[in-house]
Symmetry: C2
Subunit: 417 residues, 2 copies
């Protein structure tokens, strides 16, 4: 089944905001078996909105609009929809109660502007918005469906999950598709494909595998389409269990798990803690750990040792070794990891020292060269990699590689180099 998306709002066309809603809708509706055929962004102008909707309805069974539902005069989606389908804007009593509760819960005055949010085209179905004052609207149009949603991402997403998808599944008798996604880290796509070829070849024909690139690594999605089999989810789980046996070191987790969350969960399980000593990653690893709620259970702290004096004074790196080998060296990485472990009392210490670029490279240590180490109660492990020529990419990739060292160690899978 094919749907089209229409995003409404001058702010997208003038580039004031990036449209992140459409990508989320593409993934979420795609998982439900709805393919997005086209995405169109138009201005807050009645004629353009109407034309875009009429065109989309000639091609697709389902049209979703986002945006233009605020209470101010710029926002004309609701009025335009009422006009184009010859409906009246009338007060929807259920919407009125929702909006009133929402406004009063925020301690605001329920004034005329807010009350206008409860005016809806009289023949649409109101979709309650639990995160804002603009209700969603569902229009049945001779077998096709038009859905209008607010543009604020967390309002739109909640409406899709709780109101739109269940109704779409019922209305279009959508097939039940099952998906589960494994996050991999550490293997390029071609290597991954080669390594898991025997597993892939042995998959039963009704299990479909997709390789999905992501910022972290390749994600592997297994899908069963149009199924009523109550065992389908268990069958997917079994296949992923087999995959884990084949590539135990490369699967970080399932769904939306990040490296730092997977590592944090293992630390909680082991009742252990970590601290970081960062040079070239400049605090990025600490920031990634602490961006997640509950990090204080396993993250004790860190040192960003940009200046060499901080490496020696705070982390206890040997100044003679530093002078002899340079800051970007195995011994400095090892002593940084051990130093922060000692200084913070953490079970483990992680360190990075490298040439992030764009300057500071040399023939022996070109931009992108990074030494990374993990200090444990039973010894220290150091690794050298050359990443990229881009500073931001070097910071991200060195952070991920270092986080992964601890994840592998905690799973008993770290191989010293």
């Amino acid at each position: 089944m094919v749907a089209e998306i229409i995003t409404i709002g001058d702010e997208i066309l003038i580039g004031q905001i990036v449209d992140t809603n459409s990508a989320w809708l593409g993934r979420t509706l795609g998982d439900a078996g709805i393919r997005i055929g086209r995405i169109v962004s138009v201005a807050d102008r009645a004629q353009e909105i109407e034309q875009a909707i009429r065109n989309a309805l000639t091609r697709a069974e389902l049209v979703l609009t986002t945006g233009g539902l605020g209470p101010t005069k710029d926002d004309i989606t609701k009025r335009t929809l009422a006009d184009m389908f010859s409906m009246k804007l009338v007060r929807n009593e259920e919407a009125f109660r929702w909006v009133k509760e929402m406004i009063e819960a925020r301690g605001l005055v329920f004034n005329e502007l807010n009350q206008s949010q409860a005016l809806l085209p009289d023949e649409c179905t109101m979709l309650p918005n639990r995160n804002g004052t603009a209700p969603g609207m569902w229009f049945d149009l001779d077998g096709k469906v038009l859905i209008s949603l607010p543009g604020v991402p967390f309002e739109m997403k909640e409406l899709i999950k709780n109101e739109v998808l269940p109704r779409l599944q019922a209305h279009f008798a959508l097939p039940r598709n099952l998906h589960k996604t494994a996050i991999t880290f550490g293997l390029a796509e071609s290597m991954l494909a080669e390594t898991i070829a025997p597993w892939e070849a042995a998959l039963p024909p009704h299990l479909h595998l997709a390789y999905l690139p992501s910022a972290l690594g390749i994600r592997l999605r297994l899908s069963v389409y149009e199924t009523d089999d109550p065992h389908a989810a268990a069958e997917i789980d079994e296949q992923f269990a087999r995959l884990e046996k084949l590539i135990p070191a490369y699967i970080v987790g399932y769904g939306e798990t990040s490296l730092e969350e997977a590592t944090g969960a293992l630390l909680i399980e082991h009742q252990e803690s970590v601290a970081t000593a960062e040079s070239c990653t400049g605090g990025n690893i600490a920031h990634r750990f602490t961006a997640h709620a509950g990090a204080s259970a396993y993250f004790r702290g860190g040192v960003v040792s940009y200046a060499n004096e901080v490496k020696t004074a705070v982390l206890g790196v040997d100044s003679q070794a530093l002078a002899r080998e340079g800051a970007v060296s195995r011994i400095v990485a090892e002593q940084m990891a051990e130093g922060v472990r000692r200084a913070t009392g953490a079970t483990y210490g992680l360190s990075t020292t490298g040439v992030a670029g764009p300057d500071g490279g040399s023939p022996e240590k070109p931009v992108g060269t990074v030494w990374m180490a993990l200090a444990t109660p039973n010894g220290v492990y150091a690794f050298k990699r050359r990443f990229s020529s881009l500073r931001s990419e070097n910071i991200q990739r060195a952070s991920s590689f270092t986080l992964n060292l601890l994840r592998l160690y905690l799973k008993g899978l770290l191989k010293p180099e």
Copy 2:
């Protein structure tokens, strides 16, 4: 003048990537006097690409496509354009030389797949791509213009700046518009508007002011449209100089400057340095400083003191004060800033300690409460704020507020509280 954008590629429709190109094009072309009328995303299918281009050309004088120019068989934009305009794909000798140089400079083999990048429709103008192997293409179509660019953002942007905009200005005799944008921080839009009302009222009528929201704060843009006046740029500068006198503390810089870059530039000017002691911001301030090339000139390092023992052992915070006042307190923020200044030998120390949330709040110190301090050679300054209920927002806002403390101090504008 109105343009339309067509982004080509399944990866946008299935939500694998977010389309950031369109917002950048909206801003960049908007500054050049070209309004984006519509943005359409279509799949890598010849019929859909052709239909979208034909429709766009009925409405707009200029149509820009991005994507679908890679060398693999998924990428069909070039072949589709040749077919729809009855042109032949022929080897473009200039493109051939460019692509060959590009491939060989990367140490790769110039194979048949790469050579196909130099095949172009015979009646288009080749736009050289300095950052990749897919040339841009310019088609003159009975007074209208169609431009096809690669989808990789840094290739597309370079082509727009160096090849497309100069040609568009010549071809359409575009009016010369001048813009300059000031970045403000620390005043909400309504307060800012009230404060600068006298300045705004005194602007000459040919200078246009726009308020543009951004992640950091409100940006103020002054524009002169359709001007040949050689003094127009100086006139904008003079008006911004007057604005700076009115709100000296609130203007961070111009263009794309960030708070950390503005602060770093002041530190370089003063030949001074900074170090950070972060609790609730978890390394984010250090990460923001060090994300910029050249940070080692002024950033000495930092400590992320998540655990209380790190606050006392590494930063020398008084354990009795910590027990008495709690970690989120004036005295702990002050001692953290002084401690990291002392430990690293930096001129200044910055600190944060607060309740990032979602847990850990109390009636006296609800989620979002943060103490922040700046230690200087002449004393320490501490500030308390309550930001938000969202963890990520608290981390970002506390980081920005703290960076701004040092910026204000270095400009002689910090007011103790």
